[in-house]
C-alpha cells in the first residue's frame, strides 16, 4: 500500500493539491534543523488579538533545568493529566505524599504485562473467555477480535495505575502508526500493541528495529512486497521521513537535508526479502528476495556504505547498520524529542524552546543511546514542564477526554454481570471515542493523528462543531441523562455524591465549587463564571442553605428524597462545569 492510499480516504484538512501529491504532506512536516524556529505560519484565519495569545508563548524562556517551584495540587494534577488519562483525586493525593521528583519516578515505573484480550462472545468454534491472539487469522471473526483488542486497550487505559506506560503506548502507536483496515489481522495488531507496550519506556532504537520486522508494519508499509527484483520504497521512506530522522527542508531536488531520494532507495534495498507468515504470526526472511549487494548512502549520511549480507543473519545485520547510521545523526534525536514535546507539552516550538528544551532533550537521548526514560524524567522534572504558560494549553484528545472523564469520576459501568457485558462497555467507550475522530488501531495514516503535526492548528483539529457536540453529549449523558453503552441498554451515571465527598467540605458551597474547579479545570476560571456556578447550585439562596440541605441528606442517609434533592442540584452544577470550554483543556 502506498501513502497516497492512506491519505485518499482520510484527506487532511489543509492539504493542498491532489490527495496523491506527496509534497502536500511533506510541506506540513516539521522544520527539523536545529535553530530554525517554526516559521511564521499562516495563522489559520485567527484575528490579530488571538494571534497575540499564541505569540505569548514565544516569551517562554524556561528550559530543561530542574523545577524548584511549588509542589501542590495544581502541579500534581498537571503532571498526572499530561502523563496519564485524567487526574483522579486519589492519585493526586498519592503523588503529593512525596516530592515532585518522586512522583515523576513513580510515573516512570514500567507497568506489568497485562493478560491478553479474550473472546468475549460465543463464536461457535473457540471457547468464550479464552484468548484469540495466537489463533490463526479467521476472516469471519476478525472484526470481533479487533473489537476485543480495542475494548481491552480501553480498559487498560481506564484502569491504569500511576504510570506513564499507557500514555507512552499510545504515543508509540501514534508514532509508528499502523492501521487495522490495511493490516487486516487482529492478531498482528495485537502483536504490535504488545510490542509497543513492552517497549513503552524502553529504547527507541531497539523498538524501531522490532517495528521494522513487525508483521503488522510489514503489511501496512508494504515491506512484505519489497523484493530484490521489484523493490518497494514505502517502508524505506517512512522509516526515515516519519519514524526516525524526519524530513528537513528540500535544499535541492530530492535532497531533504537529512536524507535524499537516493537514501530512500538504498534503504529499501537493505529491507528487501522480508515478509509475514499469517499462519505462524511472524516475520519470515526469504534470501532469494534479498538484495545482497552493498548499499551506498548519500552525503547526508556521510556517504555510508552498508555491506550486503546474503542470509537472514546478514540481512538482519544490514538493518542494524541502517538504524545505527540513522540513529547516529543528531537530527534523529531532535526529531523524536520534538515529537515527545508535542505529545506531552505543547505544539508551539519556538527558538527558545528549541534551544532550551529540544536541544537538551536530544543530547540526553544520544548520551543514553536512545533510552527514553532519562529524557522523560528530565522533561517532567523540568522548570519548562511546570511553566504556567503551558498548563492547560493542550486540547484533550478524544481518549484524554473520554477515559480521563471516566477515571476522574471513577465511573462504574452499569450492569457488569459477565465478561460479555464488560467487553461491551469497553467497546462502547471505544466507539464513543471513535465518534470524536480518534479510533484506536486506526490512525488516519502513517503520519498518525494530524493533531500532532498539522501546522498551524495542531490540537485544535480535535474540536470542531461536530466533535464538540459529541463531547458535550458524552459528559451530559454521564452527568444527567445517562450514558447508554451500545448493546447494553443500561444507563451509566457519574456518582456525583461520591465526587462531592472528595472535597474537603461538601457542605460548604464555596469549598465544593472551588475544589471541583481545581479537579476539573487546569486553569483558574473567570470570576463571573464562578458566580454563575454558584447561581446554578443555589439559585439566589444564601450559601448556608446548601449546607442545611447537604447535612439533612448526610444525617438521613436512607431518605431517598433528601438524597435526590441534593444529587439533582449537584448533577446540574456538574453538567455545567463539564460543558465549559475549560474542561476541554488539560
Amino acid at each position: 500500500m502506498t501513502r497516497s492510499e492512506f491519505i485518499g480516504s482520510n484527506r487532511l484538512r489543509s492539504f493542498s493539491g491532489t490527495p496523491t501529491d506527496r509534497s502536500a504532506i511533506e510541506a506540513s512536516q516539521l522544520p527539523l534543523n536545529q535553530g530554525t524556529p517554526n516559521p511564521g505560519v499562516p495563522n489559520g484565519g485567527m484575528g490579530s488579538a488571538e494571534r497575540k495569545h499564541r505569540d505569548r508563548a514565544l516569551a517562554s524562556t524556561t528550559g530543561l533545568e530542574l523545577y524548584t517551584g511549588a509542589w501542590g495540587v495544581d502541579q500534581a494534577a498537571h503532571l498526572l493529566r499530561r502523563t496519564m488519562f485524567g487526574a483522579r483525586v486519589e492519585d493526586i493525593t498519592t503523588v503529593l505524599k512525596g516530592t515532585m521528583s518522586q512522583a515523576v519516578d513513580m510515573l516512570l515505573t514500567p507497568a506489568a504485562t497485562p493478560d491478553p484480550p479474550l473472546i468475549y462472545f460465543n463464536n461457535g468454534h473457540s471457547a468464550q473467555g479464552t484468548t484469540w491472539v495466537s489463533l490463526p487469522y479467521d476472516a469471519t471473526v476478525d472484526d470481533q477480535y479487533l473489537a476485543s483488542l480495542t475494548g481491552w486497550w480501553i480498559n487498560l487505559m481506564q484502569t491504569q495505575n500511576i504510570s506513564i506506560a499507557e500514555k507512552m503506548t499510545l504515543f508509540w502507536h501514534n508514532h509508528f502508526a499502523t492501521g487495522s483496515a490495511t493490516v487486516k489481522s487482529s492478531q498482528y495488531m495485537y502483536q504490535q500493541n504488545a510490542l509497543l507496550r513492552q517497549n513503552a519506556l524502553g529504547n527507541f532504537k531497539a523498538l524501531a528495529k522490532q517495528i521494522t520486522f513487525n508483521p503488522a508494519t510489514l503489511r501496512y508499509l508494504s515491506g512484505n512486497q519489497n523484493t530484490k527484483v521489484s523493490p518497494n520504497e514505502n517502508y524505506g521512506r517512512e522509516l526515515q521521513e516519519l519514524f526516525t530522522i524526519g524530513k528537513g527542508p528540500e535544499i535541492s531536488t530530492g535532497n531533504y537535508t537529512t536524507y535524499t531520494e537516493a537514501d530512500v532507495k538504498a534503504a529499501a534495498h537493505v529491507l528487501t526479502g522480508w515478509s509475514d507468515d499469517a499462519v505462524n504470526l511472524k516475520a519470515v526472511f526469504n534470501p532469494a528476495n534479498h538484495d545482497s549487494g552493498n548499499k551506498q548512502f548519500s552525503s547526508a549520511y556521510g556517504n555510508t556504505v552498508i555491506k550486503g549480507g546474503a542470509d537472514q543473519a546478514g540481512a538482519t545485520r544490514e538493518i542494524d547498520d541502517l538504524l545505527t547510521m540513522i540513529f547516529n545523526q543528531r537530527a534523529t534525536a531532535l526529531y523524536i524529542s520534538r515529537k515527545i514535546y508535542r505529545w506531552f507539552i505543547d505544539y508551539v516550538i519556538d527558538a527558545n524552546i528549541e534551544k532550551n528544551v529540544i536541544g537538551p532533550m536530544a543530547d540526553l537521548m544520544m548520551q543514553n543511546n536512545y533510552d527514553v526514560k532519562p529524557v522523560l524524567a528530565a522533561l517532567f522534572k523540568s522548570a519548562h514542564f511546570y511553566d504556567v504558560d503551558h498548563v492547560g494549553s493542550m486540547i484533550k484528545n478524544p481518549i484524554d477526554f473520554t477515559i480521563g472523564t471516566l477515571r476522574l469520576f471513577d465511573v462504574a459501568y452499569a450492569n457488569m454481570i459477565d465478561l460479555l457485558r464488560h467487553y461491551y462497555a469497553w467497546i462502547g467507550v471505544q466507539r464513543t471515542t471513535a465518534s470524536m475522530a480518534m479510533t484506536l488501531c486506526l490512525p488516519p495514516n502513517v503520519a498518525g493523528w494530524a493533531a500532532y503535526y498539522q501546522d498551524p492548528v495542531y490540537y485544535e483539529l480535535w474540536v470542531n462543531s461536530d466533535t464538540l457536540q459529541k463531547r458535550i453529549k458524552f459528559v451530559d449523558d454521564l452527568a444527567i441523562d445517562g450514558y447508554t453503552l451500545p448493546e447494553n441498554q443500561v444507563k451509566t451515571y457519574i456518582d456525583v455524591l461520591a465526587f462531592a465527598k472528595l472535597t474537603s467540605d461538601p457542605s460548604k458551597a464555596d469549598t465544593l465549587i472551588a475544589e471541583w474547579c481545581k479537579f476539573l479545570f487546569p486553569i483558574v476560571i473567570d470570576p463571573d463564571q464562578v458566580t454563575t456556578l454558584h447561581d446554578s447550585l443555589l439559585n439566589g439562596l444564601p450559601n448556608y442553605e446548601w449546607g442545611v440541605e447537604w447535612n439533612d441528606y448526610i444525617n438521613n442517609p436512607t431518605d431517598a428524597t433528601k438524597q435526590k434533592t441534593v444529587e439533582d442540584k449537584l448533577r446540574t452544577l456538574l453538567k455545567y462545569m463539564l460543558e465549559m470550554a475549560e474542561y476541554q483543556l488539560m
Binding site: H53, R56, V391, S393, L573
Partner: protein, 518 residues
C-alpha cells in the same frame, strides 16, 4: 392533526361542535375565546413569563389581610407592617407599602392576586419544595420532568430533533439567568435554551466573552469557545431579536440596580424583537429572610413591583400587552410567627401574583385566617393547589383541554378563574362569584349555630378546623345542586375559643371564623 389545524378548519364550516375543557366550542363561534383558541397551540403568540422568587417569600408581609391585623400583631409585631401604611386593594386586603407599582397595576385592572397557594403536606427544604413547584409533583413524589417542559413537549413533540424549524425558528423557552430551570425539563430534553456554557446567555445578548488568561491555555480556550458558539443554534435569532427590541419605556431603573428589572427588560426586548419563544423564566433571589426580614424583603418587593410595572409599561408601548401574561411564585411562604431575629422561618402556603392586561383583575380566594395566638409551628393553610393555577394557565392562556392537563399534571386539578374572556373562565368566574359563605349566626354561640352558603353545584365540602388547622368536623361532603343552603353546627364537646369553617368547591373556597363561648 394539531389542535390548531382542527380548529381552523372548523371555523368556516357551520361550526363543528366539539368539546373542549368540558365546554362546547360551538357555542362560542364568534366569541373571542375561539379566536384565542385558534391562536393557541403551536403558533400562538401568547407568551408566559414566570418569575421565581427564590428563598421562600413571606406572604403575610406581601399581601396583608387587614381583617387579621390583631392576630398579625400578636404573631409578628417585630416585623409587622404598620396598618396605616398598607397599600389598600380592598377594605380587607392590602399590599406591602414597597409595592406601589403593583397597587397601580391592580387599580388598572392588570393584576390578579391569588391567595394562599400551596400543596398538601408542605416541605420545608428549599430545593425539594422548588422541585415540587417546578415539576408539579405531589409531596411524596419525585418527577424527572418539569410542568412547563411537559407542556412544551406536548405542543412541540419530538423537540429538540428537527428544531429550529420554519414554524419554530426560536427557542421554545428561555431562562434568563444561570442553569436552565428544572421546570423546563421535558421528557426527551430540556426545553429551555441550552447554551454550551453557563452565563452564555448574557454573553450573547451583551456580546460579552468571559475573560481568558494571556497564556497558551487562554489562546486554546478562546478557540474552543469560538467553536462552542457555533453550537448555540438559537444564538443568532435571539441576538437579532434582542438587537431589534430597543427599550421604549421610561420606567426601567438604571441597569444593575434591579436585577429582576434587568432580566425582564431582556424578556421585553426579545418579545418586542419578534422572538416566538413561548415561555420565559426569570429569577429574583434573596427571599430567605430568617433574620432582619424587613430590611431584606421590602427592597426585594420594591424590585419586584418596579420591574413588573416597567415590564408592563414596555409591553404597552409596543402594544404587546394582550400577548403576555406573567406570574410569580416562590417555593414556600414563611411562618406566621416571626422569630426573635426579626425574621421568619420556612413556611407553607403564600399568595402569588398573575399580571397582564388579560388577567381577571382582583383577588381570588379569601384572606388567610390566622390563629389568635400563633405558635412557631403554625402555618397558613392552602386555599389553592399550585397545580390548579398551572392547569388554569395552560387552558385559559394556551388553550389546552382538560384531558391534556390531566396528562401533564398527572391528576385532574380543577381550574380557577385567571384569564379574562375564556369560556372556561367565564363560567368558572360566574361560579366563583356566586360562591358565598356567610357569617354564622348566632356568633359567638353555645352550643349550636347556623351556617349559610351558596354554591352553583358540584362536589362541596364544609369543614370545621381549630386554629392549628386540624379538622374537627365535616359538616358537608357531597354533590350539591346549585342553590343556597343552611346547615347547623353543634359545638358540644369543644372548648371555648376561635374556630374556622371552610367551604370548598371545585371553583374555589372560602373560610370564616367563629367563636364558641362557654
Amino acid at each position: 392533526m394539531k389542535r390548531r389545524d382542527f380548529l381552523k378548519g372548523a371555523v368556516p364550516a357551520t361550526v363543528l361542535p366539539f368539546m373542549l375543557g368540558g365546554y362546547s366550542v360551538k357555542a362560542f363561534a364568534n366569541n373571542p375565546y375561539l379566536d384565542r383558541l385558534i391562536q393557541a397551540g403551536n403558533d400562538t403568540d401568547h407568551v408566559f413569563v414566570l418569575i421565581q422568587l427564590s428563598g421562600g417569600n413571606d406572604g403575610l408581609n406581601t399581601v396583608i389581610p387587614l381583617d387579621q391585623y390583631s392576630a398579625i400583631m400578636a404573631a409578628r409585631s417585630n416585623i409587622a407592617i404598620t396598618e396605616s401604611s398598607v397599600l389598600k386593594l380592598t377594605t380587607a386586603t392590602g399590599l406591602n407599602p414597597a409595592m406601589t407599582g403593583l397597587q397601580n397595576l391592580f387599580n388598572q385592572q392588570k393584576l390578579r392576586v391569588v391567595q394562599s397557594v400551596g400543596y398538601p403536606t408542605p416541605n420545608f427544604s428549599h430545593f425539594r419544595s422548588t422541585d415540587i413547584w417546578l415539576t408539579g409533583a405531589d409531596y411524596y413524589q419525585t418527577l424527572p420532568t418539569g410542568w412547563m417542559g411537559r407542556f412544551l413537549d406536548h405542543e412541540y413533540p419530538g423537540y429538540p430533533v428537527g428544531y429550529p424549524s420554519t414554524q419554530m425558528p426560536d427557542p421554545l423557552a428561555i431562562q434568563i439567568g444561570s442553569a436552565v430551570s428544572t421546570g423546563l425539563e421535558g421528557p426527551t430534553a430540556n426545553m429551555g435554551l441550552a447554551f454550551s456554557n453557563p452565563g452564555a446567555f448574557y454573553n450573547i445578548i451583551n456580546d460579552k466573552i468571559p475573560s481568558a488568561p494571556a497564556t497558551r491555555a487562554g489562546f486554546e480556550l478562546s478557540y474552543v469557545r469560538s467553536i462552542g458558539k457555533q453550537l448555540e443554534t438559537f444564538a443568532v435569532p435571539v441576538k437579532n431579536a434582542a438587537a431589534k427590541g430597543t427599550s421604549k419605556s421610561t420606567m426601567w431603573p438604571t441597569a444593575k440596580v434591579n436585577g429582576l428589572a434587568d432580566q425582564l427588560k431582556i424578556v421585553a426586548q426579545l418579545i418586542a424583537g419578534g422572538l416566538k419563544t413561548r415561555i420565559y423564566v426569570v429569577n429574583l433571589g434573596g427571599f430567605d429572610t430568617h433574620t432582619g426580614q424587613r430590611a431584606a424583603q421590602d427592597p426585594l418587593l420594591t424590585q419586584l413591583s418596579v420591574a413588573i410595572s416597567a415590564f408592563q409599561d414596555e409591553l404597552k408601548q409596543y402594544t404587546l400587552e394582550d400577548r403576555v401574561v406573567g406570574m410569580t411564585f416562590s417555593e414556600f411562604g414563611r411562618r406566621i410567627k416571626s422569630n426573635s431575629s426579626g425574621g421568619t422561618d420556612h413556611g407553607a402556603a403564600a399568595p402569588l401574583f398573575v399580571f397582564g392586561s388579560q388577567v381577571i383583575p382582583g383577588i381570588l380566594g379569601t384572606n388567610p385566617v390566622l390563629p389568635t395566638n400563633a405558635t412557631v409551628d403554625d402555618n397558613l393553610n392552602m386555599q389553592f393547589d399550585f397545580r390548579s393555577i398551572y392547569a388554569s394557565i395552560m387552558t385559559q392562556w394556551f388553550g389546552t383541554d382538560s384531558t391534556t392537563n390531566q396528562n401533564l399534571l398527572y391528576a385532574d386539578f380543577p381550574q380557577v378563574p385567571i384569564i379574562r374572556g375564556s369560556a372556561g373562565v367565564t363560567k368558572a368566574a360566574a361560579q366563583a362569584a356566586s360562591l358565598e359563605l356567610y357569617q354564622n349566626f348566632p356568633n359567638p354561640f353555645n352550643p349550636t349555630t347556623q351556617i349559610k352558603f351558596h354554591v352553583t353545584g358540584g362536589h362541596t365540602t364544609l369543614r370545621v378546623f381549630d386554629v392549628d388547622g386540624r379538622t374537627l368536623s365535616t359538616i358537608v361532603d357531597r354533590e350539591l345542586q346549585s342553590g343556597e343552603y343552611q346547615v347547623a353546627f353543634d359545638a358540644t364537646g369543644l372548648a371555648s375559643g376561635t374556630y374556622l369553617y371552610r367551604l370548598q368547591t371545585l371553583n374555589g373556597s372560602a373560610t370564616k371564623s367563629m367563636v364558641v363561648t362557654k
